[in-house]
């Protein structure tokens, strides 16, 4: 199997390109069925990353948490009644009746029978399990009904900040020169501006009334860090031999960016999208809590504000649960985001992914001999 073994194709006679490629493409051509191709793509881009992600308990937990909130944000409002004042007694405590409430009548949880068609099944019925606020509005319902707006904010904020950062960072890194200096100057300026006060000033002057707009305004100062990171990544990647080779092959910049550059940036982009999501949640809640934003959308921050300034939950610790629930929601969803973003790092590592692809070529693990 000497690689230099020349078969009959050339005996010093120069072939034209067409002849050569014709010959190369002719001999026992490889047929790939469409299904096989699809299966291959599916395996490489969907199943393998999925397996990598699922293999790590932290990523798994992150995915589960995010899925839970997405579920609460999409299906939740449809199955759970909208909150309103005086649905429950004011300052109704959570888990009223403790564990005993399951068997006894009344309390926060009861066993009931529901009938589906002609069969009746045992079912659980909840009665303000998380309690109610100062106005008798049940907290559990408020939490769920605030979720769609929260998600809208997060998605809008993440898309805008990450999109902006990617455009700026990649352009600066790839173009270099004056474009680069200019863009980075702007980035540095935004980076050194204190973000929250800026957002507060803007929000105070032009109060945003839609959830997505809140997300966008919060994204204003969320992009510089990522833009810088992406730029330095692109600067390194641009010098990578394979990018230069692609350029030498005359591939258009668009193709090079989308095939050689962006895929390497995906870990950063996704991690930062998750971080941006977390930041949007943190800041929006803070602003609603401060009362800077108009109470036109539902938000956990509004619940905290009510608990803090109406129910005096800090002074009257009996009402502390009214603060605790929204705070837990924030902490749990950000925890989910962080775990998810950490897991993405693994998913995008081709070494780890190859181990989870079905068609592994050969031993990919080299022992440390040198």
């Amino acid at each position: 199997m000497s690689p230099t073994d020349e078969s009959s194709t050339d005996g010093g006679v120069q072939l034209s390109d067409d002849q050569l490629f014709g010959q190369l493409a002719d001999s026992d051509s490889v047929e790939l069925s469409g299904r096989e191709r699809l299966a291959r793509i599916l395996d490489a881009y969907v199943l393998a990353p999925g397996r990598v992600a699922w293999n790590d308990w932290r990523t798994r937990l992150g995915i589960l948490i995010i899925a839970l909130f997405v579920l609460a944000g999409t299906v939740g409002p449809r199955v759970i009644e909208a909150p309103a004042t005086n649905q429950a007694p004011t300052n109704h405590p959570p888990f009223e009746g403790g564990f005993g409430a399951i068997t006894e009548d009344g309390g926060w949880i009861d066993l009931v029978q529901i009938s589906v068609g002609s069969v009746s099944l045992p079912w659980l019925s909840f009665e303000f399990p998380l309690g109610a606020d100062n106005y008798g509005s049940p907290i559990g319902r408020q939490l769920v009904h605030a979720t769609p707006d929260m998600l809208e904010m997060v998605v809008a904020g993440a898309i805008v900040s990450v999109g902006f950062a990617t455009i700026i960072g990649v352009t600066a890194g790839y173009k270099g020169g004056r474009t680069d200096s200019f863009l980075m100057y702007i980035t540095d300026i935004v980076m050194t501006m204190p973000g929250l006060p800026l957002v507060i000033v803007i929000a105070a002057i032009y109060p945003p009334r839609q959830a997505w707009l809140v997300g966008v305004i919060l994204a204003i100062d969320a992009w510089p860090g990522l833009a810088r990171a992406l730029r330095s990544q692109v600067l390194t990647l641009r010098e990578e031999s394979y990018v230069e080779a692609s350029r030498t092959m005359g591939l258009p910049s668009r193709t090079i960016l989308s095939r050689d550059v962006i895929p390497q940036l995906m870990p950063y982009v996704l991690i930062n999208a998750a971080q941006a999501g977390r930041k949007v949640i943190f800041e929006s809640v803070a602003l609603y809590f401060l009362g800077v934003l108009p109470f036109t959308t539902a938000n956990w921050g509004i619940m905290m504000d009510t608990a803090y300034s109406e129910a005096f939950a800090l002074v009257d610790l009996g009402n502390f649960y009214q603060l605790l629930w929204p705070m837990s929601a924030i902490v749990i969803i950000s925890f989910g985001f962080i775990l998810f973003s950490q897991g993405m790092d693994r998913v995008f590592n081709p070494r780890i992914r190859a181990r989870h692809t079905k068609k592994v070529g050969g031993g990919d693990e080299q022992p440390p001999t040198e």
Binding site: R58, G176, G177, D180, S181, Y185, D188, I189, M191, T192, M193, P194, G195, L196, P197, L198, I200, V201, I202, A204, I205, Y206, P224, G225, R228, L235, R278, F282, V285, A286, F289, L290, G291, V292, M304, Y308, A313, L314, V315, L317, F320, L323, M327, I330, V331, I332, S334, F335, F337, I338, L339, Q342
Partner: protein, 361 residues
């Protein structure tokens, strides 16, 4: 002769090199200045140029005030009132207003006059500033020291139970917003247990001055806010430090140093810590902006009258000059912090300012 010429040349080269070394610092200072001007411009633009702007709102406010007190609203009187508070004259062309606004800020530190307090904005904020800086700097310093120590410890014990647990704990702490921390501290340490006061900068019953009781009271009042801004400084830094340290623990020069028999203390400080901290610097620069930002919320929660508290107050009272002024103050304080960080970076990392700057070609 040629030796002499050579030496002279070397001398000139050294001088030039010395100045070129300062190139780094000059650039940073220039950069900070440009940022300041940009922020001033943005403030001005927000304040003045956009439709439905605060200046007009303010005018309308005065108008209704005057009307309420039964006076006729004379446009000139209104213009004058607006000018007193904002420092610029609405009847002038916009570029003149901009020029005067910047001139007043740069030359006379004139940020306008607060509507609700009637005092110059600069005086109010200048008195409040040290308190915000006190809280933020301590919070940041504590947060970063913890990051460094914890991250290094995790790296040394890489793969151990301690490492695994602390990674999860650090991740979890990272998902707690600072104000949630603040509320928890306040509820338990101040209201429930009563260990710390729930608000204020110091005990007003103690005579202010350099006496121990007063100092103690400042620390006592500052403890909870500092703890909360510690959460901001903490961020994800410990994990980053861990990553850096792990990388450096595997570096060639560390292996060589161990073989040379260098003591473990020196390796930990001079080799691992020193090199692992460098990348954290960039993060810290963003951290400085973040920690000052957070003071708006924290000072509100702890009723701690610093710049952040006045910002909040200004929003509530629609006191636009104060709001704009505090925004500028935040920027200036942040810029100074970042400049300090960058200057020390030049000392800590010998490679700063040489190379790496000519990436673009």
């Amino acid at each position: 002769m040629s030796e002499y010429v050579g030496r002279a040349r070397e001398g000139v080269a050294a001088t030039l090199g010395f100045l070129a070394g300062f190139d780094y610092y000059w650039r940073k200072i220039g950069h900070a200045f440009v940022t300041l001007i940009s922020v001033t411009t943005i403030t001005f633009a927000l304040f003045r140029l956009m439709p439905g702007n605060p200046a007009q709102a303010m005018r309308a406010q005065f108008e209704s005030q005057l009307e309420g007190s039964g006076q006729a609203a004379d446009p000139e009187v209104l213009d004058q009132m607006v000018q007193v508070h904002t420092g610029f004259d609405p009847s002038q062309p916009i570029y003149m207003q901009y020029f005067e606004y910047v001139r007043d800020i740069v030359l006379y530190q004139d940020f306008g006059q607060s509507i609700q307090y009637g005092d110059p904005v600069f005086d109010i904020l200048f008195r409040a500033m040290p308190w915000s800086v006190f809280i933020s700097v301590y919070g940041l310093a504590l947060g970063y020291s913890t990051n460094i120590l914890l991250g290094a410890a995790m790296a040394y014990k890489e793969g151990s139970r301690f490492d695994g647990t602390m990674t999860v704990v650090a991740t979890f702490l990272n998902s707690i917003p600072y104000y949630v921390g603040a509320l928890l501290f306040l509820a338990f340490f101040a209201h429930d247990l009563g260990w710390f006061p729930s608000g204020g900068r110091y005990d007003t019953s103690i005579e202010a001055g350099l006496n121990p009781a007063f100092m103690a009271s400042i620390v006592h009042h500052g403890a909870l806010p500092i703890m909360s801004s510690f959460i901001v400084g903490f961020g994800g830094g410990a994990l980053a430090m861990r990553g850096n340290s792990v990388r450096i623990l595997g570096a060639d020069y560390l292996r060589v140093a161990r073989l040379r028999g260098i003591g473990s203390v020196r390796i930990a400080t001079r080799y691992v810590a020193r090199n692992a901290i460098l990348p954290l610097y960039t993060q810290m620069m963003i951290g400085i902006a973040a920690v000052f930002s957070s003071s708006v919320v924290l000072e509100y929660i702890f009723t701690y009258p610093g710049v952040g508290w006045y910002t909040f107050d200004a929003i509530n009272m629609r006191d636009y000059p104060l709001l704009m002024g505090s925004f500028l103050f935040f920027t200036i304080v942040t810029l100074i912090g970042i400049l300090l960080a960058e200057f020390t970076y030049g000392i800590v990392d010998p490679r700063a300012g040489s190379g790496g700057e000519n990436e673009s070609y």
